[in-house]
């Protein structure tokens, strides 16, 4: 096994341009997404999910705490699941996930599309995708 010592530059010495910022954002948003999913699952258990939902439904709610994800369960009253509080949580999760995901798509595209024109096109497409998905997603969350 190779045991070459990796060359490490501390985070503060690396400078901060847009790409570095997005690199950091990808990691930090991942942490925030874990926290929000855990938060939603704990919230579901507090609201009585143990008796009225199976594990798959709890997870479905955890990955996106929208009331449409608990409609088909045994929960007696949907009202506590569709409060502005949970809609805000779901919106935060959605916006983080869309930004994280669209940036991930750009990173993948950059590995295969190398011409400057192509990369510029990818960036404009990604901005359009990010805005449209965020707007449609938030609309769906608040009207469902």
């Amino acid at each position: 096994m190779a045991t070459t010592k990796p060359r490490i530059l501390s985070l503060s010495k690396r400078g901060l341009n847009f790409e570095m910022f997005m690199w950091l954002f990808t990691r930090l948003s991942a942490l925030a997404i874990y926290a929000l999913i855990l938060f939603a699952i704990i919230g579901a258990l507090v609201m009585g999910a143990r008796n009225d939902m199976n594990l798959a439904d709890v997870l479905r709610w955890g990955f996106m705490p929208s009331n449409t994800h608990v409609q088909s369960t045994e929960v007696p009253d949907l009202a506590p699941w569709s409060t502005p509080f949970w809609r805000l949580t779901a919106s935060a999760l959605l916006l983080l996930a869309v930004a994280h995901g669209v940036h991930g798509l750009v990173v993948i595209a950059d590995d295969y599309i190398v011409s400057p024109r192509g990369r510029l096109t990818v960036r404009w497409l990604s901005i359009a995708l990010m805005i449209s998905m965020s707007v449609i997603g938030v609309y769906v969350l608040w009207t469902s």
Binding site: L31, I108, P116, G137
Partner: protein, 123 residues
């Protein structure tokens, strides 16, 4: 400034990156799978009606559920390793051990999930 790659796709596929390369590829497949799934899901719930209902039947299928749960679970566990190692760069020397731990966490969790998905689909 344009970037040129001097390695062909065939050479790239033969690259022996072993464990770390495998996690890199699976992380990428998982991320792509989730991105496409989430987009279709958002659009389907926005459109609704017959098209939305048809799209629902696709991702309620047990095969699709196994696939998407693989994407989610692997991306989440591998992403946690990447985040920890990248934010604490001193841990980079333990990269390979971290990948073994990752599989030790992933395989049992995924096996239980697949068992539950199949037994639910079987009635």
């Amino acid at each position: 400034m344009s970037l040129n790659r001097n390695v062909s796709l065939a050479t790239g596929l033969r690259y022996k990156g072993q464990g770390p390369m495998l996690t890199f590829v699976l992380h990428r497949i998982g991320g792509l799978g989730m991105a496409i799934f989430v987009m279709i899901h958002i659009l389907a719930s926005f459109i609704g009606g017959e098209v939305g209902a048809f799209l629902n039947t696709i991702y309620e299928h047990w095969l699709f559920q196994i696939f998407i749960f693989f994407c989610v679970l692997f991306h989440a566990i591998n992403g946690l390793r990447i985040t920890i190692v990248d934010l604490f760069p001193k841990l980079l020397v333990h990269q390979r051990e971290a990948i073994w731990v990752e599989w030790a966490v992933f395989i049992p969790l995924f096996a239980i999930a697949v068992f539950v998905i199949i037994s639910t689909a079987g009635g």
